[in-house]
């Protein structure tokens, strides 16, 4: 049986999987990118643009897929996965490089002295509790003294207090020390930020502020002052609103969050008693027993019934 005819017709149906071009196509499998450096064939371009583009695209995709099938593969649940090589085409960065942060005072000092930065873990091993604990923050080790239910009073407690009339409170002392450290750190952070800004910027801000204050410090709040040429209008705070065409899903979530926050605020102000333990609704019971006159009236009448000192209650009974 001669099958060559069938094979030939089958082969004619499918185009060759190899792409032959004057300049071979450049394939960067890492980025799934194919670059065609050949000049455009003007004849086929002007004859039928759609067909020309389709042929170009087909060649490109074919060479990309050929190169993909040549890659090493890995098995997975969804079938074999090709492992892409490292991209060879260098893409330009869209944003400029971030500027290095200006060094803090400590960083300058450390650099001058050659002190290396040691990264400390957030967690620390607690020998007594035999577990890892936070260095700071929730249940932090720096709060250990002030959260202890019993604390040793040092022998020199009265000297530490220097004749003040309150008792020595080790928890308060520890807490004050910690708060002072936090305050000092914040002060240093602000000073570093001001230093990073530079003296010129700080001075400029100060002058702008003074100018704005002086301009409205006249009897007419600056309304009838002579204006200098080219003097700008003082700018107030501009209100900013959310855009109307924001996705409604965001808005819904924001509203639900606001409602839950309002709920928790309301709970904070009037704390409800735990319902599991109290089978009896005390408020309702008082209302019922006093026939709606309230707990004070109930107490008064009860005192009257006992023959108590309340003269008014006794008179009625």
């Amino acid at each position: 049986m001669d099958v060559s005819g069938i094979i030939a017709s089958n082969a004619a149906k499918y185009q060759a999987i190899t792409v032959e071009k004057e300049t071979p196509l450049e394939v960067d499998a890492g980025l799934l990118l194919v670059t065609d450096l050949n000049s455009i064939d003007e004849e086929s371009y002007s004859a039928n643009l759609e067909d020309h583009l389709q042929a170009l695209a087909r060649d490109g995709v074919q060479s990309l897929i050929t190169s993909l099938f040549a890659l090493p593969t890995q098995r997975s649940e969804d079938g074999p996965l090709a492992q892409l090589p490292v991209p060879t085409t260098a893409l330009p960065r869209s944003k400029p490089l971030p500027k290095p942060k200006p060094p803090t005072k400590w960083e300058k000092f450390a650099a001058a002295k050659g002190i290396q930065h040691k990264k400390r873990d957030k967690r620390e091993w607690d020998e007594e509790r035999q577990e890892w604990v936070n260095r700071w923050g929730r249940d932090g080790k720096n709060k250990q003294v002030e959260e202890q239910w019993i604390t040793e009073v040092p022998a020199n407690a009265d000297i530490l207090l220097r004749h003040s009339d309150v008792d020595f409170d080790p928890r308060k002392v520890a807490r004050d020390e910690r708060k002072a450290r936090v305050a000092k750190n914040e002060k240093q952070r602000l000073a570093n930020a001001a230093r990073a800004q530079g003296p010129r910027e700080a001075r400029k801000q100060e002058i702008d502020q003074t100018l704005a204050t002086t301009r409205i410090s006249t009897a007419s709040m600056g309304k009838f002052d002579k204006k200098l040429e080219g003097e700008k209008k003082a700018r107030g705070v501009k209100r900013k609103f959310e855009p109307t065409e924001r996705p409604l899903e965001d808005e819904k979530n924001a509203s639900l969050a606001l409602i839950s926050r309002m709920d928790s605020d309301a709970k904070k102000t009037r704390r409800e008693p735990p319902t599991e333990e109290n089978v009896l609704n005390v408020r309702k019971a008082v209302r019922f027993a006093s026939k709606g006159r309230g707990g004070v009236a109930l107490g008064r009448s009860a005192a009257g019934a006992r023959g108590g000192r309340g003269g008014r209650g006794r008179g009625k009974r």
Binding site: F241, E249, E251, A254, S255, L256, L258, I259, M262
Partner: protein
């Protein structure tokens, strides 16, 4: 037209929660499509996403109304509910009051509800609670605020005020120009 800021949303939600409580969530998280609150010329409108998107293209001075007007902000930033919000409030109302047929007309002319006109009231209504007022045939007529808790109403004389009037459907005729 713009979305509400956080303070504005808070004012609106607090006022609505006084009438419908936790059901407020059902107004925001609706199964039948997204709805939102929009502010246009100090009025708050409750509007579906579709008509909101359509009205974006209408200039502010030309936009008269959209969706359902829920109320307006006063100059001092307080939110006042309008009677047009009754459809939604009556759906989800937590506390209800039914008034007798002879009390309907006085209420619809903008008067407070007296004890003599009180038909039924939800059990355990606290004092100063927002309530929806219905006729005896279960038709929503308006809303108000209770002057006394339910238990305290028993001892009052018939001419004392039970519900302070806030809005009634008569306003559709009385305040036709300014309502929407």
């Amino acid at each position: 037209m713009r979305p509400l800021t956080e303070e504005e949303s808070r004012a609106v939600f607090e006022k609505l929660a006084n009438y419908i409580g936790k059901n407020l969530i059902h107004l925001i998280d609706r199964p039948d499509g997204p709805y939102c609150f929009r502010l246009q010329k100090d009025r708050v409108y409750y509007v579906s996403e579709e008509s909101m998107r359509l009205s974006i293209s209408i200039a502010r001075p030309n936009l008269v109304s959209l969706g359902t007007c829920f109320g307006k902000f006063s100059k001092s930033g307080k939110f006042k509910l309008h009677i047009t919000a009754l459809d939604y409030i009556s759906q989800y109302a937590k506390y209800k009051v039914w008034i007798k047929p002879n009390g309907e007309m006085p209420f619809l002319y903008g008067n407070h509800v007296l004890k003599a006109h009180l038909g039924r009231i939800t059990e355990d209504t606290p004092e100063h609670q927002g309530v929806v007022v219905y006729s005896m045939s279960d038709m929503p007529l308006g809303f108000g605020v209770t002057a006394r808790a339910t238990v305290d109403t028993r001892k009052l004389d018939p001419t004392s005020i039970i519900i302070f009037h806030q809005a009634d459907v008569g306003e559709y005729l009385r305040d036709e120009e300014t309502l929407f």
